[in-house]
Symmetry: C2
Subunit: 596 residues, 2 copies
């Protein structure tokens, strides 16, 4: 009772102190180690690690190259941009990354999300890479990775499912050698069925055969064969094998400039020059300023970083094996990967699930494996671009489709349905909006619909009101079982008033609100409780707040200091009833002659 | 333990049953009485009531007419539209309204909100009235008035403050006889200071004198004078008096068509024809279809109904004196007022605070008082339009400004600041966005910022983890003090893992999550708890969920039926520890040779 100063003065956090503490922490050695995880593992590096990392890096590289080329086509960019995006992330992540398995580079979803903006110029993709890198970096620095928590599993599942279906649909035309300019779900199928007569036999045969073989090779490692090691490596390098077979077929069957399949075509040779990302560009001869480019990118500058973080952190968690993932540091690393990558004309990049799992199953020991992958991509750019121009589009389509088939989380969808029917709503909203409108808005709608669940619950906290008789005074005992906030303020008020009025005229003399679970309230709740007190006094019922903590009680006391008497601390209910009943008789003695 | 079927089958509400019950309820007499409140009070009506209602209705009417004309000018509509909006609401509310004091009609905020859309044609205002009436009606029918609960008091205060400042600012030009075409906050003041030299002496003198007198008359009733009754009626009829004085001055000083003040000008005479609201219109000779009109109105079709409900329900609550306001019925009434009013070319209407308080203080007994008000407005339209064309604009400006000065809730702002500093954030966001961008977006931003408070809290529930020693087994006892939802799923997981890892290697053998306050979880929480179990098992720690209720436990059991053993019901902690420790030794006997 003595230390109730904060009933009249609000306890606020001292911002100066917080800033001081934070800045002090920045200069410590532990923080340095946290920011540069390479310091922790590099001193312990040995030859055994080097061998393991080399083999893993090589295996990942053989998948990274065909995937990079395929994702460039999803993004609608010239083929070399895929490879431009695939090396810098690998190098940067070695220094800043915390998870040994993660491989950062172009992914199908990132490619699809950037695709909408590159119609004018590839500069948009590079600028998106730079800006989303900055956003991710800042979110990481300010520890705002918690935002990702508001993307629930049903929403994530809906998003991945829709993205996989969209991406696979976009490649169906290429699989059959049909020309198509769109990567959208509906448009792709409309184009496919509209031009099905234009199917090219060679492409279709190659595409379908490759797809079937890829799926078989993926499953080969699960078969009970004797040579486990061989089947494992065949399974891991299946994408590289498909590309090599495609190139060899295309090259051998070609004559006099005629190609048997529609191929990737010319790839600009050489390592991209190191230059700052384009802060203005030219579309159809018109100059577009930085401001206009940002306006064009719009909501993508929020959704691309978010999806990027989500993909990367989800992978880090999947491969962390019980260790806590330092989400903020992962975001810092991912941000820097994007920022530096954009200086080499990259599109937005993030952790790739396929390549990360290949990395893991190839037995990588440290993030240094990424150096081998990066070097391999650079070598491909320097020496193999002519070779890659022979990659049949149907082969790439088969590689993408086979990856997407396994990206749809069928089991997860069934799990959600089985465990909680309500969660099917955010899932379906996300999936449908993603499929039929756009990926960004699907994500936003899903998050919004799911947030409504939280808000709805906040508006209907569990409130128990029981009728008690203490010292033969009938009273209502109110137990609020969750925290009160502005959305539940009126609910509490109407529930109490309804209780009092349904008990019959003036039969309830007192309402006691127990404060056990009320840790804090806002001014709306405070004002509503004051107005509840007034309403109750018209019904000749008094309101007592019993054992509220000082933070919550303070809000009301500071609103109307004279209402301090409403709060009772420490006493038992019967003591309170006796006290209030005595006060009531005192005032009644004065009032009685006038009232009745 | 026996009745745990719902661990494997989700209990879902039977929708058919709900619909049946609802539709059955619709046909009952009580529901009829609820939907037509007039049934309750009309049979008890008597002559005494009639007299009181007549006096009150007359007094309100004398304020309603000048206000209606003033608000038409705020909305940028021809003067007669103000009067068109002022009668139908009064009549409809008699039948469907639950609160005897409320007067439905045009208000300053509604006028300002519709103003942005009437630049092309007044048809937009009438269509807005009809459509927002439909929205309000439907929200009422489906009992969605709870939506208003998400508009907290700081947001409401910010909105009213900004609206009052904007409306008053828009009238400053008229007060000084300066021409102005805008009602926006900044533009009005820019126009005022840019054209201050064009101030018309006559208008400025009349305007300022009227404003001063109105403010004095408002205060006159608080003075300790002897003739209470007279001062009260002077105070109540001050707006009507100001208009009469203005008209008389303007008429007497005019000669040969020259007017001493800028006046309202021509008002179309007669009662508006009964016709359906315009579902298409013509702007500058171009036909605008219904679809295009709706697109033009955009977000207003959500914000106007919401503000309309908010104003009306807030007033109903203020005048209900402790009785519970049937918000849904109020919304049904308000929706019908708007729908029917739109058939007489009305702009959107809602409960007016000024007129409702005049109604109340004039001693109205039943909603029938509205009939007198409505009749008075109709008579004004039929016979007095020529007279009203002499109303000086400066007089109307003074009436509006004097009303707005009292609409700013200075005390409320101070209260919010004093009681809860955090609540100043939604207040300021709402007020600033309303002032400098637009009223609709201000409201939306305020609601959004305030919802972040709830969401943030949901992501960080209070979780207490204590180190206990039961049967000499060290274990962590987790108490979740609020409900778990998807946003808090990872927080719980990381908190438990951090606890286990910071306690030193393998020192914690078991984590027990108490289920006392966990009433329900979603699939994201379920999946995170399963992944927490896996992570902990890598740290050689087992996870037990103790005394969870079946709803919450069922979500996890349905995800992975074999995890059923994780849940312990009823037993004491020491029994559980003994059981789990026994199982662990059993498995360890098998595992030990391989592990160490």
């Amino acid at each position: 009772m003595e230390n109730c100063d904060n009933l009249y003065h609000e306890n606020l956090p001292n911002i100066c102190q917080i800033v001081k503490n934070r800045s002090k922490k920045c200069c410590e050695h532990a923080t340095c180690k946290q920011f540069l995880p390479i310091i922790s593992w590099l001193p312990k590096y040995n030859v055994q690690f080097l061998l393991a990392d080399f083999v893993a890096g090589l295996t990942v590289g053989l998948t990274a190259i065909p995937q990079a080329i395929a994702y460039a086509s999803i993004a609608g960019l010239p083929t070399q941009f895929g490879l431009y995006s695939a090396f810098m992330g690998c190098f940067v992540y070695i220094v800043f990354g915390t998870c040994k398995d993660i491989t950062v580079g172009p992914t199908a979803i990132m490619a699809l999300m950037v695709q909408a903006h590159v119609t004018g110029s590839s500069d948009y993709a590079v600028l998106t890479c730079f800006l989303s890198g900055c956003v991710i970096f800042l979110l990481g620095i300010f520890n705002l990775g918690v935002l990702v928590r508001f993307i629930s599993i049903p929403v994530t599942t809906g998003f991945t499912t829709a993205a996989a279906i969209t991406i696979a649909s976009g490649q169906v035309n290429n699989l059959f050698g049909i020309k198509s300019s769109s990567n959208e779900f509906i448009e792709s199928w409309v184009n496919f069925f509209g031009h099905i007569t234009e199917t090219r036999r060679n492409d279709a045969i190659l595409g379908i055969a490759t797809l079937v073989l890829l799926l078989l090779m993926m499953k080969i490692k699960d078969l009970p064969l004797s040579c486990k090691m061989l089947t494992k490596y065949i399974s891991l390098s299946r994408n590289a094998l498909a590309v090599i077979v495609g190139i060899v077929l295309c090259y051998c069957l070609s004559h006099d400039g005629w190609l048997p399949f529609r191929a990737s075509g010319e790839i600009t040779k050489g390592i991209p020059p190191f230059k700052p990302p384009p802060f203005s560009t030219t579309v159809n001869g018109t100059k577009v300023t930085f401001g206009e480019m940002v306006t064009d990118l719009g909501a993508s500058l929020a959704s691309i970083p978010l999806i990027s973080i989500l993909e990367s952190i989800a992978i880090a968690k999947a491969f962390s094996k019980g260790k806590i993932v330092d989400a903020s540091q992962e975001m810092v690393a991912l941000g820097l990967c994007n920022i530096l990558s954009s200086f080499f004309s990259s599109m937005p990049i993030t952790g790739s699930f396929t390549r990360t799992s290949i990395n893991h199953s190839s037995g990588v020991k440290t993030p240094l494996g990424g150096a081998v992958t990066g070097a391999l991509v650079l070598m491909a750019l320097a020496f193999l671009t002519t070779t890659f121009s022979y990659i049949p589009k149907a082969t790439l389509a088969a590689i993408i489709i086979s990856a997407m088939i396994f990206m749809v989380e069928y089991e997860r969808i069934i799990e959600i349905w089985r465990s909680k029917k309500m969660d099917v709503i955010p899932f379906s909203v996300t999936a449908l909006v993603c499929l039929f409108w756009s990926l960004e808005y699907g994500m936003v709608c899903g998050i919004f619909v799911n947030a409504i669940f939280i808000l709805y619950k906040s508006a209907r906290p569990k409130i128990l009101i029981s009728l008690e008789k203490v010292n033969s005074v009938p009273l209502g005992l109110v137990q609020v079982q969750e925290n009160l906030c502005y959305s539940s303020a009126e609910y509490l008020k109407s529930k109490v008033v309804k209780f009092v009025t349904t008990q019959g005229d003036n039969s309830i003399k007192m309402i006691i609100i127990k404060g056990d679970e009320i840790t804090n309230i806002d001014s709306t709740v405070g004002l509503n409780i004051l107005s509840l007190k007034e309403d109750l006094s018209l019904l000749e019922c008094s309101l007592i707040c019993w054992n509220w903590n000082y933070d919550a009680a303070g809000v009301i006391c500071r609103l109307h200091p004279k209402e301090r008497s409403m709060f009772k601390f420490g006493k038992s209910i019967s003591e309170i009833v006796a006290e209030v009943a005595y006060n009531m008789t005192q005032t009644e003695i004065v009032d009685v002659p006038e009232d009745s």
